[in-house]
């Protein structure tokens, strides 16, 4: 079934906002996505009529809130095909989810000289916590290089994995759009005796996710990139690994008992959810999951492949050598996120000019400075498309690009 994008656009109120009398062309969804009315309504209805603490209080309002909150956990477990709902841990964003597993697991299990394998296309969230462990515990980092078209160069994977304790990698690059072969990478990690951590920030919002088929050990992603509210991230982990993992933050809800001389931890998932969580936001994330499920993740993926095909063809046809689009040229191997260089105009200037036409793209290093250096750039402009974007918007991007040359 193909997406009815016109109907979908009606669900997103911000897309009807005119800025300076022009419609908004929002091409920054890899950064953060817009929100459908159903999510906004879930949030404001709950805050207006059902807001209450969860887990702690026995009265009906609180019991109802707890049910709604845990309902999102179950819905998410189904959404990513997790075996058990209590393997789904809510954090504040994917960054916290990654820090939780990297720092807690690393401090408990990694020692001087231990090696961790990353890739050259990682987001800072999957680099900086490892750097912290380098400083704290003297571990070593090894990197998988890229091919010329922005895919992982897996020709030496097995030797790169030798003696590696953890292999942590992104399922899809937020700069290049590259979709990595997660299942193959997890299998290779396990064959080498390494833990497999998957940064699924860019993939969960855009295609069906099956953590069991992947064979991953830990998977992190964010609500705000998948039509859900800001302020919520998700860590999924295998039950046995989560049970062995030391807690990350200490406080209320994550304890079984606290005495003056020590504490014991609660069971999953509470053990990793210290303090009052983003109650209303988690509940509204449930509405986002329902919204995406209703449309069908496979349909969303198909829409984005079509869109990618169009974007790649039309921009290349129109601008030829004036534009360099990074990442794979085959739309099946990539998401609809396009970093590009255009006529030598600095990305910051480019995005400023595009903004005059209400075309919103991000200019910068996209929290992937090591990758930028490898691409030989300080920054790129990036246009990222999602379920509500159209071919017409791709044309508006092209028109706006053309007008940039009038200034520079």
């Amino acid at each position: 079934m193909s997406l009815d994008v016109a109907a979908i656009r009606k669900d997103f109120p911000v897309l009807h906002r005119l800025v300076n009398d022009k419609p908004l062309v929002y091409l920054d969804s890899a950064n953060t996505s817009q929100k459908p009315q159903a999510v906004i309504d879930a949030l404001s209805n709950f805050m207006s009529h059902g807001y209450a603490p969860i887990n702690r209080s026995a009265y009906q309002l609180a019991a109802e809130a707890t049910d709604l909150f845990e309902g999102t956990r179950s819905a998410l477990a189904k959404f990513i095909n997790a075996p058990k709902a209590h393997e789904v841990i809510f954090t504040k964003n994917a960054t916290e989810a990654l820090n939780l597993v990297i720092l807690s697991w690393g401090r408990a299990n990694l020692n001087a000289g231990d090696t961790v394998l990353l890739t050259h296309m990682e987001h800072h969230a999957n680099i900086v916590p490892w750097h912290m462990l380098v400083a704290e515990r003297g571990i070593q980092l090894r990197w998988i290089p890229l091919t010329h078209d922005g895919q992982l160069d897996l020709s030496n994977l097995d030797s790169l994995l030798q003696d590696v304790k953890v292999f942590s990698f992104t399922a899809m690059s937020n700069v290049l759009g590259t979709i990595n072969p997660v299942q193959q990478l997890c299998a290779a990690a396990h064959k080498a005796g390494a833990l497999a951590i998957v940064d699924a920030c860019q993939s969960v919002p855009h295609q069906p996710t099956d953590v069991q088929a992947w064979g991953a050990d830990f998977v992190a992603f964010s609500s705000h990139k998948m039509c859900g509210p800001s302020g919520v991230g998700v860590l999924w982990g295998r039950e046995s690994l989560l049970e062995a993992l030391p807690p990350f933050l200490g406080g209320g809800n994550m304890i079984a008992d606290v005495r003056l001389d020590g504490f014991t931890t609660a069971e999953l998932p509470a053990k990793f959810e210290a303090g009052t969580p983003a109650i209303a936001e988690v509940i509204a994330l449930g509405a986002a999951v329902k919204y995406l499920d209703g449309l069908g993740m496979a349909n969303i993926r198909r829409h984005e492949i079509e869109l990618s095909t169009y974007v790649l063809n039309s921009l290349t046809e129109r601008f030829g050598n004036d534009i360099t689009i990074h990442g794979p040229t085959n739309p099946e191997l990539r998401g609809a996120t396009f970093s590009f260089a255009f006529r030598g105009i600095h990305p910051h200037d480019l995005s400023q000019v595009l903004d005059q036409a209400n075309v919103c793209v991000r200019a910068g290093h996209h929290c992937a400075k090591p990758l930028m250096r490898i691409l030989g750039a300080n920054a790129t402009a990036r246009a990222s498309f999602y379920l509500y974007n159209t071919q017409q918007e791709a044309d508006m991007l092209a028109d706006a690009l053309d007008s940039a040359s009038d200034i520079f």
Binding site: N55, R56, S57, A58, Q60, A62, A63, T66, D67, I255, A256, D257, A266, A270
Partner: protein
């Protein structure tokens, strides 16, 4: 919404006011301790297992009417029974409480007797943890007894 009469059945209040098998057991009996992290309730279960039979069981600690009466009824239900049957009762009870997690079949022929009165707790989800506190602790005690 369910009324309180579904929760506070007479037999429950009776076990709360007059708990059965309250107290401790000396070695060679073993014990385990359980906490309800949400409300602070604490319970300790003592079991004496001989030749595969739970010959004696006691509980102490403090908690609400539901956790205390559930523990009291539990001790009455399992005392003198073979461990295998005790485990089947635990399973049946947890299944009634909607928190049976392992996939093996529940023995439908088992009669829970007075314990059926706790059925109403299911309508008050926050209290399920109260009702099952003693039962989970019993399982820990049986493990401590090598069962």
């Amino acid at each position: 919404m369910a009324g309180l009469e579904d929760l506070y059945r007479e037999i429950i209040l009776d076990h709360y006011r007059t708990p059965r098998n309250r107290g401790e057991l000396d070695a060679p009996a073993v014990s385990a301790e359980g906490h309800n992290p949400l409300c602070g309730d604490e319970i300790r279960i003592f079991v004496d297992v001989r030749d595969g039979i739970v010959t004696d069981v006691r509980f102490n600690g403090s908690g609400c009417s539901i956790s205390q009466s559930s523990a009291s009824m539990m001790t009455s239900a399992i005392k003198g029974k073979p461990v295998a049957q005790v485990k089947a009762i635990v399973k049946k009870f947890k299944s009634m409480m909607t928190v049976d997690e392992d996939e093996s079949p529940v023995d439908e022929s088992l009669n829970l007797g007075d314990l059926e009165a706790l059925q109403g707790v299911v309508k008050f989800p926050v209290r399920i943890k109260c009702a099952t506190l003693g039962w989970n602790t019993l399982l820990d005690a049986l493990t401590a007894a090598g069962q």
